[in-house]
């Protein structure tokens, strides 16, 4: 189990658009809501009405990017398991509870055999695994495997809860190994990137980089305006009579 499957032919994953994500946390809570009742141990919240530390499978971070010649950017970065091809969280697991599916590349935890040692969370560079304190087992994004492989859900709903929820449409789901898949195409068109490629995990999830910001082409109003020799005439309304004449 613990060994990684040979290169899956289907690689289900998410494409997350950093140009569009408004950081609203809808994906965070809808994920928690779906998955807390999805059959495994509930996603617990300890000291829920005090300091409150709960288990979430998806979290949204916000960063500032300070640039020399443009105002700072703010980028929201939602982060859940990236379902890596070379998933260190799988190979370190002593029990085989952590595994990657051969058929679609989804990385999962078998809660019935997980001993809660935490090593997989240590091995994951992305912080994508959280130990559930009440249940003592490791939790992580399941890519909503129960939704995406469901045979009873309506077709349109066979997407992860977070994708279904995202109000801005910043989350896309698909087979990223299939160049014809819309999500894969979007990723290709927009330069979808790996996070922490140097960690050698070969993540399946892709992030679309923010488009250029605050560097619009300089446009000159005067150049757009009517020939304006008489611009200052008539108190600055030199153009008016000509324009009215055109209207007839």
């Amino acid at each position: 189990m613990t060994s990684l499957p040979s290169e899956p032919t289907v690689k289900l994953g998410l494409v997350i658009d950093l140009d569009t994500c408004v950081g609203c946390h809808a994906c965070v809570i809808s994920c928690k809501e779906w998955n807390t009742g999805a059959g495994g141990a509930p996603l617990s919240d300890m000291d829920a009405y005090g300091e409150a530390e709960g288990t979430f499978l998806n979290r949204v971070h916000s960063y500032e990017v300070l640039r020399d010649d443009a105002p700072p950017m703010v980028v929201h970065l939602p982060k859940s398991c990236l379902h890596c091809d070379d998933a260190p969280c799988v190979t370190v697991c002593p029990t085989g509870a952590s595994f990657k599916r051969g058929e679609d590349g989804i990385v999962l935890v078998n809660e019935a055999t997980c001993i809660g040692c935490g090593l997989c969370a240590w091995a994951c560079p992305y912080g994508a695994r959280e130990m559930d304190r009440a249940a003592g087992v490791m939790k992580k994004c399941t890519l909503c495997v129960d939704r995406v492989t469901s045979e009873t859900l309506p077709e349109a709903d066979r997407v992860p809860a977070c994708v279904r929820a995202c109000p801005a449409g910043a989350r896309h789901f698909g087979d990223l190994n299939d160049p014809e898949d819309p999500a894969a195409r979007l990723s290709a068109a927009r330069g979808g990137m790996d996070l922490m490629p140097e960690q050698g995990t070969r993540p399946v999830n892709r992030y679309l980089p923010p488009r250029e910001r605050d560097e619009g082409a300089v446009m000159d109003l005067v150049a757009l305006a009517d020939p304006a020799e008489d611009a200052e005439a008539g108190g600055g309304l030199g153009w008016l009579d000509r324009a009215l004449a055109k209207l007839g």
Partner: protein
């Protein structure tokens, strides 16, 4: 075969209703299971794909609905206060006792002095009902939250355009190529805006975020304009100037669709200065540019002039356009002149003007479209102007917000970008001109209902609600000289006025869904004191406070009688066309909420939907229209009212499936109506006919349809009002004309404020002692105070640092972990500090309403919200500091009375970390105990 009604994730059935984790009105699919006790439990809530508001998406709050519905802070029974006010000590009582207590307090007031009841509701989605109840009671003192929220946007929009921002209009997301967002963090239309931004982003359209802070929507904006708070009007008018100079305006649109050509009397000092020149029939006049003849503004043959001096019956007149151009072409609006004040470089202003012109005029197209205008003229196209704006509280929550919003609308008009493809579009029941809105009603009479609805739009001084001595009739002083066009009332002034006995003392303060002892008040510490202030005889200055909340909020602790409401999944509600419906530009719509789970509070007297309780109370009081001829309750409950009440014949709270189920908009009450709504997913929609989609203020097909479905009773075509004559009337009064004139002390302020054209004035005077601005923003994942009881949401925002701009951070030598003291002329707070670079360099900010009073919301008393959370409200006073003459104006827009939250000026200093944020407001006892240690919701009703 899967079908989309099928329950999911182990659920056994789906109930479709309307979310109320915020006021956005999204449709939700509530997936239910049979819980351990056999009762239905919520497995999962997701967006309703068919719903016009959210189209299937859902936000963080909506997804956290389970945690709200199961919140430990839910109230469980009616309560009467047993400890002193503010202590939170209560005793649970029966509903009968509660209702009889309320009746016994209110009945004598109605018979003697109905105005001694002040009934104010918060983010009430049943305002047309609560207002009607207050009207039947006879008190003039009713309003909801609009006055402290965004009345500036509504009033400026309706008076200028006959439609407004808020959720009453929207960008044409599918065609817009250039979108400017002014002062918006989250908006009321929060999911639709996110969906819309997503569409713009998918197309790579340009989004310009004008906001001192770059987060959320402004973070994804293609360009961020980090404006200095309060200066958007100046910025917009500088754009206007640039466009006017370059002749980059839509002249045809201005002539046909606005009052730009209307003639205005220009005779300073005269009693008609600033009014329109009108013909004998009272209609405004224009001058034909071919021969100078005067014609009615709506004469299809007219070719109106836009400049020149004309004589109308001996009165000197000029067209609006020329007055406007003259004002805005002045150097005072030159980009260089405003750049420093606005914190936006002249170059950026010029470039944005150029981009606006480019997109509006070069990327415009004639879209083939057959429509007929109201004069019967047929058109075969509309001109697309793919430029749209949206604005909200960053514009409105300033004392110049009304005029700033007008400046934005004027800019939109110059670009011809309203009700055209790519521009800004109204949602039914809008467009609807000022003339179609009621005037305010007052004149309370003992034992009798009010003659009409409380809130409306005065057209001039004659419509103010003043008593014989010229004093305000209303406790909040709405529709008085202090806030003449306060179309939503001034909820934020009620408590302080009542305590001051100005204009008169009241007996009972009745509040619904507004946390007035905390985040919805300015001067929170002061308000807490006012609510507990006693007379010499030991009684409270506000003798009685009745409050309906669903949860154990801060305000609960300050009430004498609590009428506990249900959660949103447990009651009937209607989101009516009479209020704030779920329409979209191409469809009118309304929706319901219904009890998808029963309100059960085992071991307690239980909770009841507030509207039903209000009907019960109304019947006990014998209020007209709530009892039948024999004095028996006319409506069983709110659901019954929703179906059977008729506001006008055939027009009721719900528009769908009237009559025998086939009539829409108008028709007799249909007992099956609610079932029809449920079967349709909880909402109803009527699609705007194809010929009525664009140019609607002038479109015959629109007006015919609007009449047909009961939005209006007669067509009311109109043009946009660049020049606002009602303001000119108030200005004349301020100059001493007419028989209703303001007191001397207020005249200057009124004369300046009531400018028929916005002048870009700043909201207040600079005070070097308080060089910085401080504002709040709504976090996407929290709704005001309610979110903190939510075990999931509060983990995202459990405390709120004050963000300090980078330059100031370094200048003051801040380090991580430091705290900051922020001080205004009124107060001081201390809270954790955090660094931010993407913010206007003179502006501090924090998330709104995260700080909590220890003991509230069933939180542990040492919860982070109390220790490391803070409200800016402690710094904001409802009155401005005294002027030279010793008078204190209210901290609000002089036109509308809108609370000026964001005019806050402060200074700051670095302070060492503390145990808890200040001010320390003490604790309150929790009438519902503290939430459990561990929450682990299994989706089957068990946590």
């Amino acid at each position: 075969m899967p079908d989309d009604q099928a329950p999911q994730g182990g659920a056994t059935r789906v109930a479709k209703t309307t979310c109320y984790m915020c006021a956005c009105r999204c449709g939700i699919d509530v997936h239910l299971v049979d819980g351990p006790d056999g009762r239905p439990a919520v497995r999962y809530i997701e967006g309703n794909r068919d719903h016009p508001v959210n189209r299937g998406v859902i936000c963080a709050k909506g997804s956290a609905g389970i945690m709200q519905h199961l919140s430990p802070a839910r109230l469980r029974a009616p309560m009467k206060r047993v400890g002193p006010r503010g202590s939170g000590e209560f005793e649970e009582i029966s509903w009968e006792e509660a209702l009889e207590t309320a009746r016994s307090w209110l009945a004598p007031l109605r018979e003697t002095a109905p105005q001694k009841l002040a009934f104010f509701t918060g983010r009430d989605q049943s305002q047309s009902f609560t207002g009607w109840w207050a009207q039947m009671f006879g008190t003039p003192n009713f309003a909801a939250h609009g006055g402290f929220c965004s009345v500036n946007m509504a009033a400026a929009g309706i008076m200028t355009l006959g439609g407004a921002f808020w959720e009453f209009g929207t960008a044409d997301w599918d065609r817009c190529e250039y979108f400017m967002l002014f002062g918006v963090a989250e908006d009321h239309d929060s999911n639709p805006i996110k969906i819309g931004l997503g569409k713009l982003k998918a197309r790579g359209a340009k989004v310009v975020g004008v906001n001192p802070v770059r987060t959320g929507y402004n973070a994804v904006a293609s360009e961020w304009v980090g404006i200095t708070p309060g200066t958007d009007g100046l910025f917009a008018l500088s754009l206007v100037r640039e466009l006017l100079r370059a002749g980059k305006v839509d002249l045809e649109y201005l002539i046909e669709r606005t009052n730009a050509p209307w003639l205005v009397v220009e005779d300073p000092g005269a009693a008609d200065h600033g009014l329109f020149a009108r013909g004998e029939d009272g209609e405004a006049l224009v001058s034909d540019r071919r021969d100078g003849t005067l014609r009615r503004w709506d004469d299809p043959e007219a070719r109106p002039a836009l400049r020149g001096r004309f004589d109308v019956d001996g009165r000197p007149c000029r067209p609006v356009f020329e007055l406007m151009a003259e004002r805005y072409l002045s150097d005072a609006y030159a980009p260089e002149a405003v750049a420093e004040t606005c914190g936006v470089s002249a170059e950026t202003i010029r470039r944005i003007a150029a981009e606006l012109a480019h997109v509006a005029f070069e990327r415009s197209e004639r879209v083939p479209y057959n429509w007929t205008d109201w004069r019967g003229v047929e058109h075969d196209h509309v001109v697309a102007r793919p430029v749209a704006f949206h604005a909200m509280r960053g514009v409105s929550a300033h004392a110049n917000g009304f005029q700033t919003c007008r400046a934005l609308h004027i800019l939109q008009c110059l670009l011809g970008a309203i009700e055209v493809p790519g521009g800004f579009r109204f949602k039914p029941p809008y467009p609807k001109p000022l003339e179609a809105h009621p005037k305010p009603h007052g004149d309370a009479q003992p034992g009798a209902p009010l003659a009409g609805p409380h809130l409306g739009f005065p057209r001039g001084p004659e419509d103010l609600l003043l008593d014989a001595e010229g004093r305000p009739q209303r406790i909040d002083k709405a529709f008085s000289w202090e806030a003449p066009i306060s179309a939503h009332g001034l909820m934020h002034m009620v408590i302080s006025n009542a305590v001051a006995g100005d204009p008169y003392p009241i007996d009972t303060l009745f509040l619904y869904m507004a946390n007035m002892a905390w985040n919805s008040s300015m001067n929170t510490t002061g308000v807490m004191e006012m609510l507990t202030r006693r007379n010499d005889d030991g009684g409270y200055v506000i003798p009685r406070i009745i409050y309906s909340d669903a949860y154990s909020s801060e305000m609960v602790a300050y009430a004498d009688l609590i009428l506990p409401d249900t959660t949103y999944l447990e009651r009937h509600d209607c989101i009516s066309l009479l209020d704030r419906p779920i329409s979209e530009p191409d469809a009118a719509g309304d929706a319901i909420r219904w009890p998808v789970v029963e309100p059960e509070r085992p071991g307690h007297a239980g909770v009841r939907g507030f509207q039903s309780v209000l009907l019960d109370l109304g019947a006990r009081l014998g209020l007209p229209a709530m009892v039948d001829d024999e004095g028996r309750a006319k409506y069983r409950d709110y659901a019954d009212y929703m179906v059977r009440h008729e506001r006008r014949p055939g027009v009721g709270p719900l528009a769908g499936w009237r009559g025998d189920g086939d009539s829409h908009g108008r028709g007799a009450p249909n007992p099956e109506q609610i079932e029809r709504y449920k079967a349709n997913g909880g909402f109803w929609q009527a699609h705007v006919p194809e010929g009525a989609r664009w140019m609607r203020p002038w479109n015959k097909a629109w007006w015919d349809w609007a009449v047909e479905i009961g939005l209006v009773d007669a067509p009311q075509p109109y043009v946009f009002q660049l020049w606002l004559e009602p303001l000119a009337k108030f200005r004349l009064a301020a100059e001493g004309h007419g028989d209703r004139v303001p007191p001397e002390a207020i005249r200057d302020r009124l004369r300046e404020a009531m400018d028929p054209l916005p002048d870009g004035r700043l909201p207040g005077a600079e005070d070097p002692a308080f060089p910085l601005h401080a504002v709040t923003q709504r976090p996407a994942a929290m709704y005001h105070a309610w979110g903190s009881q939510n075990a999931w949401l509060r983990q995202i925002h459990g405390e709120n640092p004050i963000y300090v701009p980078g330059e100031l951070w370094r200048e003051h030598g801040f380090e991580d972990g430091d705290w900051v003291a922020v001080e205004s002329a009124h107060g001081r707070i201390e809270a954790p500090a955090a660094l931010m670079e993407a913010v206007n360099p003179r502006t501090l900010w924090t998330w709104n309403a995260i700080g909590k009073r220890p003991g509230a919301w069933a939180l542990r008393e040492d919860a982070p919200e109390g220790r490391r959370g803070v409200l800016l409200n402690h710094l904001i006073h409802e009155l401005l500091p005294p002027k030279g003459d010793g008078l204190r104006w209210s901290n609000s827009d002089p036109v509308t009375g809108q609370a000026a939250w964001y005019d806050l000026r402060v200074r700051m200093e670095r302070v060492p970390a503390r145990e808890r944020s200040s001010p320390d407001v003490g604790r309150q006892a929790s009438p519902v105990g503290v939430g459990p240690e561990v929450v682990a919701y299994d989706g089957k009703g068990t946590t």
